[in-house]
Amino acid sequence: MAKAIGGKAATAPFSPHIHAPLTLHRIMWDVVIALIPATAAAIYFFGYNAAVVIGISVGTAVVTELVMNLILKRPISIADGSAVITGLLFAFNLPPSAPWYVTVFGSMFAIAVVKWAFGGLGHNIMNPALGGRVFVLAAWSGAMVNVWSPTVPTMMSKGLSFMQASDVIIEKVPYVTNQVYSQISQISNTVQTNILTNQVTVDMITGASPLGSLKSMYETMSQATNAVQAVSHASHVAPKMAYSYWDLFIGNVPGCIGETSALAILLGAIYLMWRKVLIPVLPVVYIGTAALLVWIFGGLPMGLGWFAGDPLYHILSGGLFLGAFFMATDYVTSPMSIKGTLIYGFLLGTLTVIIRLWGGYPEGVSYSIVFMNFFVPIFDRYLKPKIYGKGKAAVLVKGGAK
């Protein structure tokens, strides 16, 4: 082999001597660009604090990356964009009211522990952003899931300014109009029943994200034993009633910072597909499986029977799009082979639906992904592509065609 001489050590002294234009840095920064629509939507729907949380999270991630580089004596890797992505995705998984310390420690944990304890980029066995989320969920569950406020545009339509609306979100003050205040205080103990009987609408009383409201509805109804027959007619439309599909699609619903707008996430995903960074096989299988299973089983917890679920409501809510397009597809923590990808996507969809319909949390996406991440090495070990010359075609004609 030809040796590199005369200061050429930095270039390739061996073939190939040319390279495709797509590089690590370009891929990573493309992902950052693809997350811009979701970032913008987050600020639009959840006010200035969303920007603050995102800023803190990204800043912490980048600084932590730098510190880890220095501690571990690795080349400085902040320019590759991967820390920015983790910071963004972690922020997307926080509620808009997340206190600064939750943001800082979660983001730090994601980079320092989930990413670098395993050797840095390419070696982590779990998606760092989701690892961070699981960590803060365990450490500060109170700050993570409880009361959700309506979105900024909703409140603005009721006469608040952007700043006022943003303040309401940070304080987690359920926002109500004067007209319905008395009504709500009367019914505060029977909120769930009232949802079912259509007396109030969710954006006025607040308290639950779309999936949360769906979940409480299941519970109420399953408790209602005989009464359930009475409401079962109404409950055909009940899950739909909570939020319109359009609101769900554009993201005008309470929820985590970056996961609510299916539209913004899709825009980013389309950009990535156009840039050939993302092949949508996994998201399609994941979302498709979830939709199918929700349609088949979704009605069961509500006593509606088979094939009565509402797949559209489910796939548009609860971060499924964010999870499917930006978390499950994370290069490092997803299987390599097409076969593996298909099975992986199917299992993710199944797990998500199981958790959503029967599990203890309304949200199944992040748990499914984190859980499945652990099995990726097994996928990679046993699902290998067929090697040329080792298959049937080779054996068939072996020995020369006669």
Binding site: M1, A2, K3, A4, I5, G6, K8, A10, T11, A12, P13, F14, S15, P16, H17, I18, H19, A20, L22, T23, L24, R26, I27, P75, D80, G120, L121, G122, H123, Y331, V332, S334, M336, S337, D380, K384, P385, K386, I387, Y388, G389, K390, G391, A393, A394, V395, V397, K398, G399, G400, A401, K402
Partner: protein, 442 residues
């Protein structure tokens, strides 16, 4: 027309075929040639001359020893000024015969040999005598390839006109300019092999070559011409066989295992000249090219011409990137311009600086691109992990030895990991280990 193609992987580098319109012209006779005695796979040739000898163009100066070996002839008339040892791109301490040019230039083309009554064995002898080797890069002695073991019956002869390497256009030009010679060469090979069916595969980005060859073979039902999808490495033997016949060469096997012999266009042309004009392989066509080369083109060059001579004649900017013998996907970097053109040199490609790419120690991000483009169906990222950990045995189990070193994986790897280079080291390591084990076993 339906395009034939191999089934899995492949890349499509920007093909940079700047010289496909440039007719093949003769390069100047070099002042001096340096002819290495090891231009082919197998045993080096035995030197037959010594310093001070006068040699004639076409005179045998290196004799094939053993079965897998090839004759070497003086490419110019002149005086041997030295027989010295030096390195080639692939081997160390090889005998070089250095000839100072001077004396008569021979005309090989005044009379044609009628081979129609010559028996196949005699034709094979002629090919062997002329020192023909595979000129597409592998440089395997051609007479060996043309005499497959008797127990294997050959039924198809494939002409490799794919020329899928970016930049190179010499095969393309040969097909456009000498289609009749190619077809005649094909007929000679048909006779030697005794096959009834010939398949010619040409990438669709050379429509004029497809047309010329189709026309030249018109009326011969045994010759089929196919357009191939433009996709690297379409010209890889295994890929070409799969694309044209659907057969797969078994892992570790040879094309003859599936009844097929493949030769590339340049080799067929050399066979034609060897038989019809009894001209040994003393010159070859090559593409001298690069973005910054003004006189880029396709040239006939004497074997042994130092690359420096070509640089003097056709120019090379002071500021440039890598200089490659062969194509940019599989060629070797030239570090010393004294290196001679050999029988396997299909081109000299001068890359501009920006097209050079830096090899980095970025981590594998498991993006899967390498696996996606591997035409063999290997998992380069996995093989890399295994070779990193020196788990060569496991890597071999996972197909390391099946790697054809096409470079597609390195080409696309966003982390610019030198995957192919690692596999080459891995394979070498494995072979040495096997050899050592065999030796111990006695």
């Amino acid at each position: 027309m339906e395009l034939k193609h191999f089934t899995k992987g492949g890349v499509h580098p920007y093909d940079s075929k700047y010289t496909s319109e440039k007719p093949i012209t003769n390069a100047h006779l070099p002042k001096q040639v340096r002819i290495p005695m090891n231009m082919h796979i197998g045993a080096p040739a035995k030197v037959l001359v010594k310093a001070g000898d006068k040699v004639e163009e076409g005179q045998l100066i290196g004799e094939a020893v053993g079965f897998i070996s090839a004759n070497i002839h003086a490419s110019v008339s002149g005086t041997v000024i030295a027989v010295e040892k030096a390195d080639t791109l692939v081997a160390k301490g090889v005998d070089y015969v250095v000839i100072e040019t001077g004396g008569s230039i021979r005309n090989w083309y005044d009379k044609k040999f009628d081979y129609s009554k010559t028996p196949p064995e005699k034709l094979l002898e002629m090919v062997k005598a002329a020192g023909v080797v595979g000129m597409g890069g592998a440089t395997f002695p051609t007479h060996v390839k043309l005499s497959p073991p008797k127990e294997k019956q050959m039924d198809i002869f494939i002409v490799n006109g794919a020329e899928c390497e970016p930049y190179l256009t010499i095969d393309h030009r040969t097909m456009v300019e000498k289609p009749d010679a190619i077809i005649e060469g094909v007929n000679i090979i048909k006779k030697i092999l005794g096959v009834k069916r010939v398949m010619i595969g040409i990438e669709e980005n050379k429509p004029d070559a497809i047309e010329a060859i189709s026309k030249a073979s018109e009326g011969d039902p045994s010759i089929e011409v196919y357009a191939l999808r433009t996709r690297y490495p379409q010209g890889g033997e295994k890929q070409l066989i799969q694309a044209l016949t659907g057969r797969e060469v078994p892992s570790g096997g040879l094309p003859s295992d599936v009844g097929i012999v493949v030769q590339n266009v340049a080799t067929i042309f050399a066979i034609y000249e060897a038989v019809v004009f009894q001209k040994p392989l003393i010159e070859r066509g090559l593409t001298y090219t690069g973005e910054q080369i003004e006189m880029r083109g396709n040239y006939k060059v004497r074997i042994g011409s130092p690359v420096q001579e070509l640089i003097n004649e056709f120019g090379m900017p002071a500021e440039h990137g890598t200089v490659i013998a062969g194509g940019p996907m599989m060629g070797l970097e030239l570090t010393d311009m004294k290196f001679p053109v050999t029988k396997g040199t299909s081109g000299i490609v001068v890359l501009p600086k920006k097209k050079d790419y830096a090899v980095n120690d970025y981590p594998c991000i498991r993006c899967g691109r390498c696996q996606f483009v591997c035409p063999i169906g290997l998992e380069p990222w996995y093989l890399k992990t295994l070779t990193d950990k020196s788990l060569i045995e496991e890597a071999v189990e996972r197909g390391l030895l099946d790697c054809i070193e096409c470079g597609s994986c390195s080409f696309v790897c966003p982390s610019t990991i030198p995957l192919v280079a690692m596999f080459r080291f891995g394979k070498g390591f494995w072979r040495r280990k096997q050899a050592a084990a065999a030796k111990q076993a006695g």
